[in-house]
């Protein structure tokens, strides 16, 4: 129940977002240079291009992972290419995703056009990942998956049920973006001694230690600088490059804040974490996206107010409050996503069961199942790499999901041997694994302050029970 304290932070977020965030200074750009003794030519201290480059590397790896093949020669090429996006810093890497689509024209074509020399492996969670076998660190797990993804057609292994593009993508969203933002820049780098505000982040930089720490954290969220001028639905449409808009040109209109006719990935595009926040908010029940964005803007204003001097205890405390708002809302988004995909997995399993009963083919339904399971697993692992150790909650989440999806022949991956081969064994019964998904939804709803609850498989019960009235009544005859 301790996670529920986050409710307070989320509820308070609305009040913490000051009116000023919506009126003046509602765009995360153009903040002045405050660092003392700066002699360069820059007129703004805002810089988070490295983080945007990493979002692009992540999006590109996801596409590459879906190009895996059983052809040994080609698979090696795919693996090398994925690794070049994950762990090398080589120049000239093409942006594979997001790419221009129709009227939605993207300004940059190369990763270097955003920021040079960036990779993901150096910024991937360095702790051990308990939810998968093999005692691997976050970076080792991604490299292991890259290897496996390159060797199966479409990046999907039908023998284990692993959909690698989804596993890699959803895990990297947490192991890189969420972890770096909430556990590093909004945590360790907010201490008084670490990256102080009265010194440049590094020699000659146009930004102070705290300014750049805050900007880097913002960059990892992946929201457009003008998010406060957009609705959650508009942000969602930008991320879909117009494919979910009434008119595809609408998405360009929403993204192109400077009206130059193209979308600048550095400031105008939506990436993973912000996309998921918006996708839950667009139903109107929550405001994760604007809570987080507002806290980033207001926190940045606290740092600007220090005018290049050391932050006072009061200012730092205020900043920590905003950081807490960001962390708790972000964590809730990951919990919502895990909840949603537990429901998807349950529905897919019911569909497979029905198809098996009626003798229909399950090949297409199984692919949906593996896709959703990959998303479930990826998000559940992401949820565990935040600032706080989830302890027993994480253990229960991992046990309920298991190391792999329960396959229609009731086998399941249970281990990885010393050569990196999967070990399978008889899993639970089909009904029991479906029950795990229900229990997982119950656990997440009880332990995290989430309220969208997409694909809630218990929703019918609670709404119907409500219409039947309470039992604790003295009324009889």
């Amino acid at each position: 129940m301790s996670r529920i304290v986050g409710v307070g932070a989320i509820a308070l977020a609305g009040s913490l977002i000051s009116g000023s965030a919506y009126s003046d200074g509602h765009v995360y750009s153009g903040f002045p240079v405050t660092v003392k003794g700066y002699e360069g030519s820059k007129n703004t201290s805002v810089s988070y291009t490295g983080q945007i480059a990493r979002h692009v590397l992540h999006d590109s790896i996801k596409v590459l992972a879906s190009q895996g093949t059983e052809n040994t020669k080609s698979s090696t090429v795919i693996e090398d290419k994925m690794l070049s996006y994950f762990s090398s810093s080589e120049k000239g890497r093409e942006i594979i995703a997001p790419k221009s689509k129709g009227v939605f024209i993207i300004k940059q074509e190369k990763v270097d056009d955003i920021s040079g020399g960036k990779n993901l492996s150096g910024k991937t969670y360095s702790g051990q990942i308990a939810g998968m076998p093999g005692n691997m660190t976050g970076a080792e797990l991604v490299e292991f998956w890259i290897n496996k993804a390159s060797r199966v057609n479409g990046g999907v292994d039908i023998h284990t049920g692993y959909n690698y593009p989804q596993l890699i993508s959803k895990f990297v969203m947490g192991a890189v973006s969420y972890n770096q933002a909430v556990d590093n820049y909004l945590d360790e780098k907010l201490t008084a001694e670490n990256k102080p505000n009265d010194k440049p982040y590094k020699d000659g930089a146009a930004y102070t230690g705290k300014e750049h720490s805050w900007d880097e954290a913002f960059g990892y969220f992946g929201a457009p600088a003008h998010t406060m001028a957009l609705t959650a639905k508009q942000v969602y449409e930008i991320a879909k490059l117009g494919s979910k808009s009434k008119d595809p040109a609408d998405a360009l209109k929403y993204a192109d804040h400077n009206n130059d006719g193209v979308v600048d990935l550095k400031t105008e595009m939506v990436f993973g974490p912000a996309y998921y926040a918006a996708s839950f908010d667009k139903g109107g029940k929550t405001s994760y996206l604007h809570n987080i964005m507002g806290a980033y803007l207001d926190g940045r204003k606290v740092i600007i107010a220090a005018d290049g001097n050391k932050l006072s205890d009061e200012q730092r405390s205020e900043l920590i409050d905003y950081a807490s708002t960001i962390s708790s809302n972000w964590e809730a988004v990951l919990a919502e996503a895990t909840f949603k995909y537990a429901g998807s997995v349950y529905k897919d399993m019911a569909a497979i069961q029905k198809a098996l009963d009626t003798g229909e083919s399950i090949s297409k339904i199984s692919l949906n199942y593996y896709k959703h399971w990959g998303e479930l697993k990826g998000f559940s692992l992401s949820l565990q790499v935040g600032k706080d150790n989830l302890g027993g909650i994480a253990a229960r989440i991992n046990r309920l999901i298991g190391y792999g999806p329960l396959l229609p022949n009731l086998s399941q991956v249970v281990d990885i041997d010393s050569k990196g081969a999967y070990q399978k064994d008889q899993g639970s019964s089909w009904g029991e694994y479906m029950l795990h998904m229900l229990k997982l939804q119950k656990l997440l709803a009880a332990e995290f302050p989430i309220s969208v609850l997409s694909n809630n498989m218990m929703e019918d019960i609670s709404s119907l029970a409500g219409s039947l009235g309470d039992g604790a009544s003295a009324e009889n005859d």
């Binding site: 399993m349 019964s429 089909w430 009904g431 218990m458 609670s462 039947l468 604790a472």
Partner: protein
């Protein structure tokens, strides 16, 4: 502290504004109009002059509403709401029990079985609403009958039958132990039906409602359920009373006369009584009825007697005797009440 007081005030007020409750203001109003027209009809049938003032005086007679028995009803209502407020958090909720059964069905059938496609939504809603109503009504009958027939339970249910004057508020004249028994019955019966339907039909399941209340409950209450606990005689006639329990039939149930004893346990449907030989049908002709139970004293309307005496009696029956120390506080004429209902 203020929260508790606030919750308590809501508990008192809530039945009057909640259409799921018998004494919802709308149902009280409909019962009033029904009673009003019944009396007019009765006046005309016996060639009496219709005197509105006289009818209103009959309906709102001080002898009924301000009687010792009715006062006891009001006090019980106020105290019971507090007790229920305290107990409710410890009772298993319908959602919790339904979830347990729903989950268990996954193990029993090894997965989830959706019966979808061929059955339209409206048909599922009708079958679900009817099933819920039938199970609810049947279990009410079973429990009600047990409360009369099992001596250990009768000592608690007797509180309801000691009412010598009936008003709509008499429905709340129940001992907290009985309230708990009925609450458990409600949770179990609803949960079983709900879990089974949701398991097989998923989101197709819907309760047919009027103003967010089960259509059956709504019409049962709208069409004069409050007259069951009243002195207004409303018989449906022999033909209909074989299917539905009329207010007159329930008044027969409250009668202490020997020919009326242990009849009409049903709540809405009379088929359960008909099957089990406890049905007593009435006619338009009002029968002579004395409400209450025989062998009682004025103490049956004292609050301490109402709430505590059933426990002493329960102990007496359970152990087969009374401890000497209890003899001093148990009224002599009441020591064998369960035998002389």
């Amino acid at each position: 502290m203020f929260e508790i007081i606030d919750d308590y005030i809501n508990q008192i007020w809530e039945p009057l504004i909640n259409p799921q409750k018998r004494i919802f203001i709308g149902y009280l109003a409909s019962s009033f109009f029904l009673a009003f027209f019944i009396i007019i009809f009765q006046f005309r049938s016996s060639n009496k002059t219709v005197d509105i003032r006289k009818i209103l005086m009959m309906l709102f007679s001080r002898r009924i509403w301000l009687s010792t028995s009715s006062f006891a009803d009001y006090k019980i209502l106020l105290i019971s709401r507090f007790i229920i407020l305290s107990i409710a958090p410890f009772l298993l909720s319908t959602v919790a029990l339904t979830t347990i059964i729903f989950e268990w069905l996954h193990i029993v059938f090894d997965g989830r079985i959706y019966i979808t496609g061929s059955i339209p939504d409206w048909a599922v809603a009708v079958v679900f609403s009817v099933s819920m109503f039938l199970v609810d009504d049947w279990t009410k009958y079973i429990i009600h009958k047990a409360l009369h027939r099992v001596p250990l339970l009768w000592c608690f249910h007797k509180v309801h039958h000691t009412a010598e004057v009936l008003t709509p508020f008499t429905v709340y004249r129940t001992h907290p132990v009985e309230a708990i028994i009925f609450a458990i019955r409600s949770v179990i019966s609803k949960s079983i039906v709900l879990a089974i339907f949701v398991y097989f039909f998923g989101s197709q399941v819907e309760l047919l409602t009027v103003v967010s209340v089960s259509i059956f409950l709504f019409f049962f209450n709208l069409l004069g359920s409050n007259l069951r606990h009243s002195h207004v005689w409303l018989s449906y006639g022999e033909k209909f009373e074989k299917w539905l329990i009329s207010p007159a039939q329930h008044q027969i149930h409250h009668s202490l006369l020997i020919e009326h004893r242990d009849q009409n346990f049903g709540a809405v449907l009379s088929i359960w009584d008909r099957i089990n030989g406890s049905l007593y049908v009435t006619t338009r002709r009002k029968e002579r009825i004395i409400f209450g139970i025989s062998g009682t004293s004025k103490k049956v309307h004292k609050i301490q007697h109402i709430f505590l005496y059933p426990f002493l009696e329960f102990y007496q029956i359970f152990t087969g005797g009374i401890r000497p120390s209890f003899k001093k506080i148990i009224p002599k004429q009441n020591t064998q009440l369960f035998k002389v209902k």
